[in-house]
């Protein structure tokens, strides 16, 4: 995504006064509505994929994605900061996904966690033999991904959805240095199994 032009920093007054006159006008609200729908189209798949990487079901992932963009609508309607909206979106998604995973673990039925990875990767490669080799390779990489510690896996998934190190550090509340170390560590593990 292109770098976002930065609006002037929010004044102290704005921080404590949620609604501004312009934000509550109907025309402004509908402009925000279409902006949010636009962002939804842009980020729905990345956010949903990110939620799925927490082991959540597609249904839970879709519901979280909806909540994220509703929250974004409220956020923008109140005239809050537009800085780094992509980071904001993923941060809210991250928190909701964690919460959902926690709730799922507490409830007796563990939803769709045992889905076999091989079933997931049917793909139309040239011939069956190549397909098998490729699927095996992908399985190995995904097995590494799933075995990573939570934080490393989140870093890697966020990076693969296009977030820059600074954005990742904000989503996960880590320092930039830790993001970079985490990514290098995960990459080393992936490279190790990939080269075998």
């Amino acid at each position: 995504m292109r770098p976002m032009a930065t609006p002037p920093a929010t004044s102290i007054g704005e921080l404590f006064l949620p609604e501004t006159a312009s934000a509550s006008r109907p025309s402004a609200a509908s402009a925000i509505e279409s902006e949010v729908v636009g962002l939804f189209e842009q980020f729905r798949a990345p956010v949903l994929r990110y939620c799925l990487s927490f082991g959540l079901s597609v249904h839970d992932g879709e519901e979280i994605t909806q909540e994220v963009f509703l929250a974004l609508f409220r956020h923008l309607r109140m005239g809050r900061s537009r800085r780094n909206l992509r980071g904001w979106i993923f941060r809210v998604a991250h928190n909701l996904a964690l919460k959902q995973r926690h709730a799922n673990r507490r409830s007796p039925h563990t939803a769709e966690l045992d889905e076999s990875t091989t079933r997931r990767h049917s793909d139309p490669s040239p011939n069956p033999e190549e397909r098998a080799v490729l699927a095996q390779r992908h399985c190995r990489l995904l097995a590494v991904l799933e075995a990573l510690p939570d934080q490393d896996r989140c870093c890697l998934r966020l990076r693969s959805e296009g977030l820059r190190y600074r954005e990742i550090s904000q989503v996960l509340g880590m320092s930039l240095g830790s993001v970079s170390i985490s990514l290098a560590r995960s990459l080393a593990r992936l490279t190790f199994v990939d080269e075998r």
């Binding site: 799925l52 597609v58 941060r91 809210v92 693969s160 954005e167």
Partner: protein, 297 residues
């Protein structure tokens, strides 16, 4: 300039591939890669793992992502419903003050604001001790004029513009770096936190003289070394186009580069570079987010 550079770590190679290195370090890694087949092989292994990983995750996850039409229609309906709830009332405001993620941020901001005020006050009080951790935000981003007034060699514009800007902006040697840290009284911080930077970039005729070098924070501030890189690139291009004369560029960047940035880019906040756009005015935003994050949703 040392001929044998040590091999960059895998971490540096990845940062380089991700465009996360400062210009100086990126140029050093680029030069190393040009010279070293071993490291090029490592780099290509990293890139190929990335490609395979991306392919694997897309194949496994994309098939699970249902078409967007249904969810979009649902969102539109929910947004419309949300929009008809008229002006926020006080209960709504209250709910949001404690309920929505964005308002947590408000809390975090206000906490941070008071912290900042405290810190700035403290910095003004203890500045004489030259403890770098106590330097106020802006001061930390500008060199000490007595230690680093800036130094340039006599040079013709044509000479500057004949060479690639990045190629002349080389990292300084470790011993010079240590001398600069010592001069600024910086001890016990990770070397990666600071970039010993030229105040007047070599691309504008600046020299490796210690009077032209100062420890510039890499991250954690809005006005960091990446933002200064943007200004330097801009000034180099403008001087070469003949829009600005060289002496004026040298003067502006060595007097107060932040004001120069604001003047040339007509802005009060850093623009452009993604790693620096999101925290103007908030010196330790990653920590703010950490706080925000702990508060949960």
């Amino acid at each position: 300039m040392p001929i044998e550079q040590p091999h960059p770590s895998d971490q540096s190679l990845l940062q380089h591939a991700d465009g996360e290195l400062s210009r100086q370090r990126a140029a050093a890694v680029r030069r190393h890669l040009a010279a070293c087949w071993d490291c090029r092989a490592r780099m290509s292994a990293i890139e190929s793992t990335i490609a395979n990983f991306v392919q694997a995750t897309h194949r496994s996850l994309d098939s699970e992502v249902p078409p967007t039409d249904g969810p979009r229609a649902l969102l539109k309906a929910r947004l419309a419903n949300e929009a008809v709830q008229s002006h926020p009332r006080s209960w709504w405001r209250l709910r949001n003050a404690f309920g929505a993620a964005s308002s947590k941020r408000t809390l975090a901001y206000s906490t941070a604001l008071s912290l900042m005020l405290l810190l700035v006050g403290r910095a003004a009080y203890v500045r004489a001790t030259r403890d770098p951790s106590a330097m106020s935000h802006r001061d930390a981003m500008l060199p000490d004029r007595t230690l680093t007034p800036g130094a340039a060699r006599p040079v013709a514009v044509a000479e500057i513009c004949a060479s690639n800007h990045d190629d002349v902006d080389l990292p300084v040697s470790a011993s010079v770096e240590q001398a600069v840290f010592k001069e600024y009284g910086i001890r016990g911080v990770p070397a990666g936190d600071y970039e010993v930077d030229h105040l007047i970039t070599p691309g504008l005729g600046g020299t490796d003289d210690i009077r032209n070098l100062w420890p510039e924070p890499r991250y954690d501030t809005a006005w960091n070394s990446y933002v200064k890189d943007e200004l330097e690139d801009y000034l180099h291009q403008s001087v070469c186009r003949g829009d600005i004369n060289l002496e004026a560029a040298q003067h502006d960047v060595s007097t107060d580069w932040i004001s120069a940035y604001k003047k040339y880019f007509r802005t009060d906040v850093p623009l452009g570079h993604i790693t620096s756009t999101d925290s103007p005015g908030a010196p330790s935003e990653p920590r703010l987010f950490a706080l925000d994050f702990r508060l949960g949703l």
